[in-house]
Symmetry: C2
Subunit: 394 residues, 2 copies
């Protein structure tokens, strides 16, 4: 069976991270993604991060399953080429600031005139309406504005950003999802539409019970570090060779945990009898648990507690993650040959399909490597292509 | 135009968070989601978090756009009802541990026999293959195992979980996306399939350039708190009434930032001339920026810097977020009437569709409120329903 987006052509005007992650997810689902880049320069990320044999692994890991063509979208001739590409495309993806695409001559009316079946997916910082729509966005800023930073970290650390660029990635993921949902509408009803996701809105959707608590009580949640605000014990405990993360999420799990570490008797003490007691006396309880666990290794505890049905694990470094047998079994690290650039290792596919699995159909492209092929598919002949090349349009 | 999943029926066996977030996203796209809950008890989250007028706002905000029926899936009679529901359904969603659904009598062969067009979406901790498949999962643990905690936080704080249950939500989001993609395959080819997303795999996919750096260099990234590992200036700076987050992401943006705060001359000093110099002398540079900004308010700086095209903003508390005019303009906070429970405020829709917008078609259901309606739709008559009720099956 073909992949979900087999036969779908995506014209991809995105750059950096949020948009390229979106279009990569579409490529991973089988779409033909044409990455449109500036002649001579290309996506800024080509020059970022550690490179091996002339290939940025950061670029490679967010641009697999795409082709690359160059096109000068500032020129009228370049815009004419884009119009021709869009006439035959299913999806346009962009992560300009709101209004920029329209200013380039591609507002919704223009796009409808070119191709009423086109799904236009946008990823932006704050959304395309509202007082902040024109603000420049950046992951760190939308982490701050969304409320995420105010709860991440501890009282001691103060507001803390998450290290990965979560708002870029979450917005890109929602945008890709919205595009596929809009394709289903188009398959059924024949009409394209505009869809979008913002970095601030996406991050807000991930605040879960913290938002619910704020809205229900009017009380602003404080950062609680690795402590669960309303459950104890919970957190990092000391084994002989490092910490073990333990989260006994229910009363039966808690009993199994305390039993496994020889402390089941604590539940008979008034200071630890109820969850409220244990939250109030968290420091004393944590110290007793550390004392009970510090004589055995992480490996021993993790085997023993998992066997008892207690959620637990290690704080793995990224080096440990990519050497983890579970990660290998789940194919969450891939070795991808890149002709001319050696073999690039990258994160695998987070969505698993029993009958239509994702695969790396092609590695991240060199800048403009598919320009001529894409132009030929759009009906340009060799003379046209030579002229576009001579004029610096591609 | 109808919503993307209009006419799609989802039988939802999920509980707590990762699965209910997945099925809520499907409901937000227009699916008819039937939440199947244990008679008498229901989803554990009904009793969690702050409640108002008998409704947990945490439950309400993750179970909108669903109906609820009770069904005892431990009984043979309950399983027979489930089989009948699945015969007419499009999607089954579950977040049991891998293997549990099969042990209940619903392995893939059994499901195929019931309905070969069924898409079966699973959300789990580590994936349904590999050495950890049977481990109990919990957000805190998969944050630790995925590598996320090792880079979140600072050198001083040590490994730090993110406050929100990100791994639940990201896995639920990927699972919903995979389900819609699998529906597109089924629309085209007529066959359902199993799809899944794991909490550990989903979180790994969000590590972005940190993973790329690890894989390319073999060096494990250290947590860097609010500092960008390879860019300076970047971070939280002191205005008269609190911090301003500033991320001058490019050389021109940096010039505009320093110009706006009267420090453009710093770029002529050897210690601040290049990005590498500025990273090396980050503390001195940050102190000078604090001195330059501390005489004006956050509001003044945010207006001035945004006008200059410099990404900036405040660290908003959740109370401030829900009062933010941008959040209102984007309808990212909703007032939803819940008959019998007052009006519940909750986070809005992160995906925006120009022609098929999401809406709250019905608020979170009371336990079992739709049991009889769903049974009647499945062909049970009043006497059948009375007998199921008397036998405690529903």
């Amino acid at each position: 069976m073909d992949q979900p987006l087999a036969g779908i052509r995506v014209v991809d005007l995105t750059r950096i991270l949020s948009g390229p992650f979106c279009s990569m997810l579409l490529g991973d689902l089988g779409a033909d993604v044409i990455k449109v880049e500036s002649p001579g320069l290309g996506d800024h990320v080509r020059g970022l991060g550690a490179g091996v044999e002339g290939m940025s692994w950061y670029f490679a890991s967010f641009n697999r399953n795409k082709r690359s063509m160059t096109l000068d979208l500032k020129s009228d001739a370049g815009k004419a080429v884009l119009r021709r590409l869009l006439a035959d495309a299913d999806v346009l993806v962009e992560n300009y600031r709101p209004g920029v695409l329209a200013a380039m001559g591609f507002d919704r009316a223009a796009l409808d005139a070119i191709n009423p079946r086109l799904v236009v997916g946008s990823v932006n910082g704050y959304g395309s309406t509202g007082p902040y729509r024109d603000r420049p966005a950046f992951d760190f800023i939308t982490q701050a504005m969304s409320g995420f930073m105010s709860v991440n970290g501890s009282q001691e650390s103060g507001p803390m950003r998450a290290a990965p660029p979560l708002t870029d990635l979450i917005a890109g993921l929602y945008a890709a999802f919205a595009i596929v949902a809009a394709l289903r509408v188009r398959d059924r009803d024949g009409e394209g539409q505009a869809v979008e996701a913002s970095m601030m809105g996406g991050m807000m959707s991930m605040l879960a019970y913290l938002s619910a608590a704020q809205l229900a009580t009017g009380k602003t949640p404080a950062p609680t570090g690795n402590d669960h605000p309303i459950a104890s014990p919970y957190g990092l405990f000391r084994a002989a060779d490092g910490h073990v993360a333990v989260a006994p999420s229910t009363a039966p799990t808690l009993r199994r945990f305390l039993d496994a570490i020889g402390l089941i008797g604590l539940l008979d003490e008034p200071r630890f009898a109820t969850n409220a007691d244990r939250v109030a006396n968290r420091a004393a309880l944590n110290a007793l648990i550390d004392d009970a666990m510090c004589h055995e290794t992480q490996e021993v505890w993790i085997a023993r507690l998992n066997a008892a049905g207690v959620p637990c694990g290690r704080v793995q470094t990224l080096g440990e993650v990519f050497a983890d047998p579970q990660v290998a079994a789940q194919e969450m690290v891939l070795d991808v040959p890149h002709p001319g650039h050696g073999t690039v290792r990258m994160t695998g596919f987070p969505m698993k399909f029993a009958k239509t699995p994702s695969q790396v159909r092609h590695p991240a492209p060199d800048l403009g490597q598919d320009t001529e092929a894409v132009l030929a598919e759009a009906g340009y002949d060799a003379a046209d292509i030579a002229r576009l090349r001579a004029d610096g349009v591609v």
